[in-house]
């Protein structure tokens, strides 16, 4: 009973949030003929920046190209963060303009879940492994927990890309999924 009430309240506030998003200037801005295609192009460039730098770092953690010291390769990570920021911003543009297309879309839920796991994973990396890994010289293996973190990171980001690509195929109202309703 309590769950039903909570779910109902959550659904109600999410609906109101979606409605509010659709009334914003940003939602209006995204309705022109060029805004959406340009934002999508930027979203794909951001994706490549992220996977190209963070992905290489993950591969090095996992044992590829061991001659590269991890601390040196880490200097490319800001480009990955820049890619992530581009994608957050363009992602917000998409969400604002078509909130219902995402909110009730299972591919979107999985995408957010994958990003959340990646977020926990990267927090674990910087709190437990970063210092150890920074001292590693050329040819040295990362410790096992760091290798696992690298594998989880790569898997999460590939999953984020896959879910992003699947969004189109699970769009409401043709497909409707809502675990909180």
């Amino acid at each position: 009973m309590l769950m039903m009430v909570l779910n109902h309240t959550l659904d109600h506030s999410l609906r109101e949030f979606a409605h509010w998003l659709s009334t914003t200037t940003l939602a209006d801005f995204m309705t022109g003929w060029w805004e959406w295609p340009i934002a999508e192009s930027l979203h794909f460039i951001g994706l490549s920046m992220l996977i190209g730098t963070v992905g290489l770092f993950d591969l090095r953690l996992m044992g590829l190209a061991k001659r590269i010291p991890l601390s040196a390769l880490h200097r490319l990570i800001p480009f990955g963060i820049a890619g992530f920021v581009i994608n957050m911003l363009t992602g917000i543009c998409f969400l604002t303009n078509a909130a219902n297309q995402y909110m009730y879309n299972p591919a979107f839920h999985l995408k957010i879940l994958s990003m959340a796991i990646a977020g926990i994973n990267v927090t674990l990396f910087y709190t437990t492994m970063f210092k150890k890994v920074q001292t590693l010289g050329p040819g040295e293996d990362a410790p096992l927990p760091a290798r696992i973190i690298g594998g989880v990171s790569l898997t999460c980001w590939l999953s984020v890309i896959a879910c992003g690509r699947l969004l189109t195929f699970y769009r409401p109202p043709a497909f409707h999924w809502c675990f909180w309703c």
Partner: protein, 142 residues
């Protein structure tokens, strides 16, 4: 039924690997992350070739799905041109710049900058294919 979305996923993965990997190497050649030994980045080339093969195959399958859609669109040829230029630059950089011990020559840096531009061009033109097509299949308009 499941094939088309799956091929699209592969195509996006391959894109991230090849464009992103090239961008990382280009940035290193341009002077970022200077402590990364450039010659050691050669280890990433097989990964990028893997991305290229994935995308050549998945791209061919996507083309077979909607041949008219791509072939009647000039943007598609722009995309192919960008990819061809990107691949030529990638192998040239691999032969002339990546093995060098000293910092890259000005020509090497120009090639790296061009590489960044053409891979971004390939991504943008690929994305715009969905918006610029005229015919979907046969005479059927987009």
């Amino acid at each position: 039924m499941f094939a088309f979305p799956f091929i699209l996923i592969l195509h996006a993965w391959g894109m991230g690997i090849i464009a992103g990997g090239n961008a990382a190497i280009d940035l290193r050649i341009l002077g970022f992350a200077p402590r990364v030994p450039l010659s050691a980045m050669a280890k990433f080339y097989p990964v990028m070739w893997f991305g290229f093969v994935i995308n050549a195959i998945s791209g061919f399958l996507l083309l077979m799905g909607y041949p008219t859609k791509a072939l009647t669109n000039p943007v598609f040829y722009l995309k192919l041109l960008c990819i061809a230029a990107g691949m030529v630059l990638m192998s040239r950089l691999r032969r002339r710049v990546v093995p060098e011990k000293k910092p890259a020559s000005p020509q090497g840096k120009v090639m790296a900058a061009l590489s960044l531009i053409v891979w971004a061009g390939a991504i943008v033109s690929g994305r715009l294919l969905a918006y610029t097509c005229k015919y979907l299949l046969g005479d059927l308009q987009c």
